[in-house]
């Protein structure tokens, strides 16, 4: 059986209008295609370039304001490329109860950023996430789509070292 490796959210291809249009058009025959389109663009480029807004608006025959409104409503959609790696630390109650807060502070101190920031060397973006569904194994984190639980200082250091390589 194949191992499931969810795709990382760090950037790949540089912004390309034609490539963006191709990805947009793959979803036009679906009902409610906007979210699948935005996911496809973010998967392709690592973020959703502002130049994508008028393209999507024209293809879906909706206003650019509507597209912009949707992109900015959802926490997942990024307006600029993230670092080479994306480290999400769970900040929700189950992880708080299991010592997640000191770990989050340690990660911020080690990377020299606040939650949502990218390390100066561009290696890693640190983000909060509100629940990964690993609450019986708290605290938990996700590095580029790979889940890690029963996080302690040692495991966190290993994750940070991996992300900064």
């Amino acid at each position: 059986m194949v191992s499931m490796q969810p795709t990382p959210s760090n950037p790949r291809a540089p912004w390309d209008r034609e490539l963006a249009l191709a990805r947009i058009r793959e979803h036009l025959d679906r009902e409610g295609p906007l979210l699948p389109i935005l996911h496809a663009l973010q998967e392709e480029f690592g973020y959703i370039d502002q130049a994508a807004e008028p393209l999507i608006a024209a293809e879906l025959n909706i206003s650019r304001a509507e597209v912009h409104g949707v992109i900015t409503f959802y926490h997942d959609f990024r307006r600029a490329p993230a670092g080479r790696h994306l480290l999400k630390l769970c900040r929700a109650e189950a992880c708080q109860a299991a010592g997640g807060e000191p770990l989050a502070q340690r990660a911020e101190a080690r990377l020299g950023v606040r939650m949502g920031g990218t390390a100066a060397d561009g290696s890693v973006t640190l983000e909060p996430v509100y629940c990964l569904g690993l609450c019986a194994l708290a605290p938990s984190a996700m590095l580029d789509g790979r889940v890690v639980a029963r996080l302690d200082h040692e495991r966190l250091e290993a994750l940070l070292a991996e992300a900064q390589r």
Binding site: S3, D76, A97, A98, C131, G133, V147
Partner: protein, 517 residues
């Protein structure tokens, strides 16, 4: 002889090294020249024992855990020779934590290969669908009504009534929507079903489609669950190939197909009308009700929106009959509830049992208290919008009405345990902060009141006009509760007010007298 092992591919097991364990066991088997067949399953839900490896023996499956990659060599030798091993837990079916459960919805989770329709059928799968097809749509809806099943997402609305309403609404197109936007901290039962027994959800949705006359379904899965989405995609493809979905569902004249849609990190999209807007490609704004989704839902069409666990309960209800399911439970809470034990807890995981078990039994007895070994001080039941209960309320039975009577909610069945190091003023502040981050912005009390709430709690913590600010916080919570369209604004007062009521000393007030509740 080929040795058959079962190793979970559930995200929780993967997060603590199940993949590394599987690889190490394969390598050890090659070195020891043992013929090996590894089946990847969902999790049994005993997360403190993950990664848990099971071996097929003539006496049934034998469990070992928690296994580390370094254990592979010795473990494999012990399994192959049926010898002793420090991690040997005994027959899985005899594990006390599993034995005292009533696994109806989770009967197959951790047992079957989640991507094999043949395995699903071999374990009583598709029998509910067959029964629904022989009963016909009306009797199918009636069976769900009679079972007493209530929405497992949190609101507890009778599932059958929703179905009946949608069935009786005439429209050229109707939809079945599964709410798999399981955003409550402390909950993971939906994720486990999607990763461990996805066909039961597909079957439940197909039955719903036949019952109400809908031909199209969507599973809206949160983006934080990539493994669940991948397994659902694979299972849907297998279901199409195997005739469980398509133009002739189960060789009948009914058509039903479905697809996965992935959310984008908005907690509020777990609210059903916000979810529908999101599916339509809009900002996930909450809609006013009426119109009910069963009348005007997705794209304005009649739509049944149910939680994963609600749909997953349906095949069994059809197969065994409404009375079988209804006979479990208490009061108006019928059947079983998959309860999730989480946070600072010794034995965390999935515990499915009939309604009626007390909170204290769940936390102290089943959960074994805290993992830190310190005393339990508070538990939050029902996610970020659920109340914090002190030990004084541990006699509350797990039942929709019993929790509501004590200004709490069971929600989606998550219990997060905190030890005595918790600062309840900080938790109350977090409830407001979370509401501020996740508010869709439609209702003013939720959009603005949550930020004002954080500020007021900060003032209380700093002892600025404490009495006046406490009164202001209570007033603000009242406004939120009665001035919000959905549960995000409406229920945020539960964690805030329960923290203030039961743990006043954390807000600088004298402790509450230990009077009987």
């Amino acid at each position: 002889m080929t040795l058959r092992l079962y190793i979970p591919i559930d995200a929780g097991a993967l997060a603590v090294g199940a993949e590394e364990v599987a690889a190490a066991i394969r390598a050890a088997a090659a070195r020891q020249a043992v013929a090996l067949d590894i089946v990847r399953t969902g999790s049994r839900g005993l997360y403190w024992l993950e990664p848990m490896v099971e071996a097929q023996t003539p006496a049934g499956r034998i469990a070992y855990g928690p296994v580390a990659a370094d254990d592979a060599e010795g473990l494999l030798r012990a399994i192959a020779t049926d010898g002793p091993h420090p991690l040997r837990l005994g027959r899985t079916d005899d594990l006390p934590w599993l034995k005292r459960q009533t696994r109806l919805t989770f009967a197959r989770c951790g047992v079957v290969d989640p991507r094999s329709l043949a395995d699903y059928r071999a374990h009583d799968g598709c029998r509910g669908l067959a029964r629904a097809l022989s009963l016909g749509p009306e009797a199918t809806v009636e069976a769900v009504v009679q079972s007493g099943l209530r929405g497992r997402g949190g609101a507890g609305f009778p599932t059958g009534i929703k179905w009946r309403t949608a069935a009786q609404t005439q429209a050229p197109q109707k939809y079945i929507v599964c709410n798999a936007d399981e955003g409550d901290s402390g909950t993971f039962a939906d994720r486990m079903i999607m990763e461990g027994d996805p066909f039961v959800l597909i079957e439940g949705m197909a039955i719903a489609g036949i019952a109400v006359g809908a031909t199209k379904g969507y599973v809206y899965i949160r983006s934080e669950y990539p493994h669940a989405a991948a397994t659902m995609e694979a299972a849907i493809a297998a279901a199409r190939q195997g005739g469980l979905l398509g133009d002739r569902v189960g060789d009948s004249s009914f058509a039903f197909d479905m697809e996965v849609r992935v959310g984008a990190g908005a907690y509020v999209c777990g609210e059903e009308t916000s979810l529908l807007d999101s599916l339509e490609g809009k900002r996930g704004l909450v809609r006013a009700k009426p119109p009910l989704p069963a009348h005007k839902g997705l794209f304005g069409r009649p739509t049944v929106v149910n939680n994963v666990l609600s749909f997953a309960a349906v095949p069994l209800i059809l197969d065994k009959g409404a009375a079988f399911y209804r006979d479990f439970g208490m009061g108006k809470s019928r059947g079983t509830m998959p309860i999730q034990l989480a946070g600072n807890i010794k034995h965390g995981g999935l515990f499915e049992t009939a309604f009626g078990i007390t909170l204290g039994e769940l936390v102290d007895d089943v959960g074994g208290g805290t993992r830190s070994g310190r005393p339990v001080r508070a538990v939050q039941v029902g996610g970020p919008l659920g109340a914090y209960f002190p030990r004084a309320l541990f006699d509350t039975p797990f039942d929709y009405e019993a929790f509501a009577a004590r200004e709490g909610l069971i929600g989606h069945g998550g219990i997060v345990v905190f030890d005595d190091t918790v600062d309840m003023a900080k938790q109350a502040r977090f409830a407001m902060e979370f509401c501020a981050i996740e508010s869709c912005g439609k209702c003013t009390p939720c959009r603005i009141g949550s930020t004002r709430g954080m500020e007021v709690i900060d003032r209380i913590i700093r002892n600025e006009n404490r009495a006046a600010n406490t009164a202001l916080l209570e007033d603000l919570c009242h406004t939120l509760k009665f001035g919000s369209l959905c549960a995000l604004g409406g229920f945020t007062p539960y964690p805030v007010m329960s923290a203030l009521t039961y743990f006043p000393e954390d807000f600088g007030a004298p402790p509450r007298l230990q009077a009987a509740e």
